[in-house]
Symmetry: C2
Subunit: 396 residues, 2 copies
């Protein structure tokens, strides 16, 4: 395994990329915060992407899916404050207008631009205000623009999310870096979650696609905050080819490290989150069983409420595994909080309750469920469910 | 359709049944509240029952499943304060001891007694304290004991739940009545939910089983509060045969009315509930699609938070339908709050937002989603998700 070194620069860490941001007054008054971002490849880059599997797909998702058919991609234009979802035919026109405005300013083809939006659903984009700002946005992109772009796409996120790594492969040095936003409506199989990752590695399009699919499966698709899957989820990978060709396994490791780091940052910054919990189900009969059991625990409202109270409530965990559909004998199940036994053979372990409470009182801990039914395992990263989460989502 | 008349008496409304309750100090100090209940048929009754589908089944569920194989049933003994779940072999012994104590006091066979427990998971029953109280419990049963029994099985319920109806069929008068407890861990396919329903109708065991299965499918299996399915859910139907044989359809209607009334009472009394919401999905391609879409909406954390805030957030509803797996064209979907259009053809309807807000501000309202993809429909009864719910479930 190649050694990964963390570097700064986020989505601009890899050679061949610039980024920038601007305030267009989409949701908040103009000038109060940036709400548009642009990420640009110096030359034509190869792109791969994964999108929400929700049947209700926002206009920018539909447009980006179509534009990915272009041979090369030149830029990604993003906005916060408005998701451009459930906006019908005018929504598609507006998403195309965003791409066209960026293409005009960058002197590239409209189909070489991908579009991401996040924010309110069902409200038309203030498209004139937005396109009017694109020339200035395009004029301001630079090699240090990653943080500004990461900030501009925040919605209820409290911190911008960036990550970049460097690795050596076959004597050459490569970089993979990215930015992301998350916060609410986070669930495996994508979320209200946008991420753009860049690299200077040169790989074929099929290799990039396969690498991204696997990396997303092992990172963004393993996080869940509230079990709700959004209409706008997008992860885009752009490759500038500026550094030549690495070993595929080295690149995969670096891509997964960046994706997992960004995914964990999304969970940690989830709405009202007070605890970060890794749920591992092992000893499952099948991989599907391991996944459904881990996700049932991670999405159990009662279990998440218990965690919010620092209660190592293993009864609710066992209950969730029981209704998950996974095959197992409840009289054989074990549950640990970190490495402290909570359940052995389906019954309370002889651990003083205070020791379990000490684990559940921590900001971050791991729950391991061993079904003793086979050899499959699955890991999910999740959070507690707090009163603050509810308060933040009471709506208008 | 036969006419149903509401009557008093709950689980003792039908001829041939008595009930009572006593304080055994299971969770709270003895004398502070009743926590054991007994429901007894004057003679041997026919019984049918449905239980949790959770793989983790509490000891009383396993014992009652076994005892249902007896030809007839004479009594149901119930307790709150302790679920006798995840208690291993000693738990089964304790459940059998409850049945044996009741059998001894009533001079019947142990296998003619069914057992229900609700409360904490993973804590051994204080069985000596409990069995010591059974003679007094059995000595105190009477025709007016339903309310006391309904109160004794409450956990976080705030009100006891009873219902009874009378109907005339073929010139004879029949009654169906019952009691129930609910409060938390409520989800379709049974919940931390106990219900005993009695009738004086004489039907075959196969008829009773089929009638109960259908009634549960249309009532208790349509309610959801938090999406968590408990280890102890039980619905028992006892028939004394004292009133002779009704038309089967008349009996079915009465049984369903009682079950639906009890199910709705459980939802209305859910933990921290401030809103009762009926979710109907219609125009689905298949019955399965209608069900999965309705349940996705009813269990969507974000949708439930919006309702708690009185926000008629149709975007979250459409999002939930989108990830439910139901087949539909998002550009054709309609959503109504009561009869006020919120979405038409996948886009915001031209309804002033204040009109939708007025509906969502009510204590009870109906959300209708029309997928325009077929003719199947499904109804689920659910609630909002409040800060109080989280507070109540923070645990120890």
């Amino acid at each position: 395994m190649t050694k990964l070194r963390k570097v700064s620069g986020g989505v601009c860490a890899a050679r061949g990329f610039t980024a920038g941001a601007i305030s267009a007054g989409i949701k908040y008054p103009e000038g109060t915060r940036d709400d548009m971002a642009l990420i640009v490849a110096d030359g034509l880059a190869l792109a791969a992407a994964t999108f929400t599997t929700n049947k209700v797909k926002a206009a920018p998702v539909l447009l980006s899916m179509a534009n990915l058919r272009a041979k090369r991609t030149r830029a990604v234009i993003l906005n916060s404050g408005n998701a451009n979802a459930c906006t019908g035919a005018p929504g598609l026109t507006n998403a195309a207008a965003m791409a066209a405005a960026a293409a005009l300013a960058l002197e590239v083809k409209p189909e070489e631009v991908l579009v991401c939006s996040t924010g309110r659903i069902g409200v038309p984009l203030p498209i004139e205000k937005m396109t009017a700002k694109v020339p200035a946005l395009a004029g301001g992109i630079n090699r240090k623009g990653s943080l500004a772009a990461a900030k501009a796409i925040m919605t209820s996120d409290t911190v911008p999310k960036e990550c970049a790594v460097e690795f050596v492969s076959g004597g050459k040095t490569f970089r993979v870096g990215g930015l992301a936003k998350g916060a609410g409506m986070i669930d495996p199989n994508m979320a209200t979650m946008l991420s753009v990752i860049t690299t200077d590695a040169a790989l074929t399009r099929a290799e990039l696609r396969a690498a991204l699919r696997l990396a997303v499966e092992r990172s963004f698709n393993r996080i869940t905050i509230d079990g709700d899957m959004s209409t706008n989820d997008t992860v885009i990978l752009l490759a500038s080819e500026a550094a030549g060709r690495p070993e595929l396994a080295d690149f995969q490791a670096a891509l997964e490290a960046v994706a997992l780091d960004l995914a964990k940052k999304i969970v940690l910054d989830g709405e009202g989150v007070s605890r970060f919990v890794e749920v591992e189900v092992r000893g499952a009969k099948t991989a599907k069983d391991a996944k459904r059991a881990a996700e049932a625990v991670a999405n159990s409202t009662l279990t998440k409420c218990a965690w919010a109270g620092g209660d190592p409530n293993w009864g609710r965990i066992l209950d969730a595994v029981g209704y998950s559909g996974a095959a197992f004998d409840p009289d054989c199940a074990d549950i640990d909080y970190d490495r402290v036994p909570a359940v052995r053979g389906g019954m309370p372990a002889k651990t003083p309750f205070a020791r379990l409470q000490a684990v559940a009182a921590k900001k971050a801990f791991k729950v391991t469920v061993d079904l003793h039914a086979g050899a499959a395992s699955h890991v999910v990263f999740t959070t507690d469910l707090t009163e603050e989460y509810v308060r933040l989502n009471l709506g208008e």
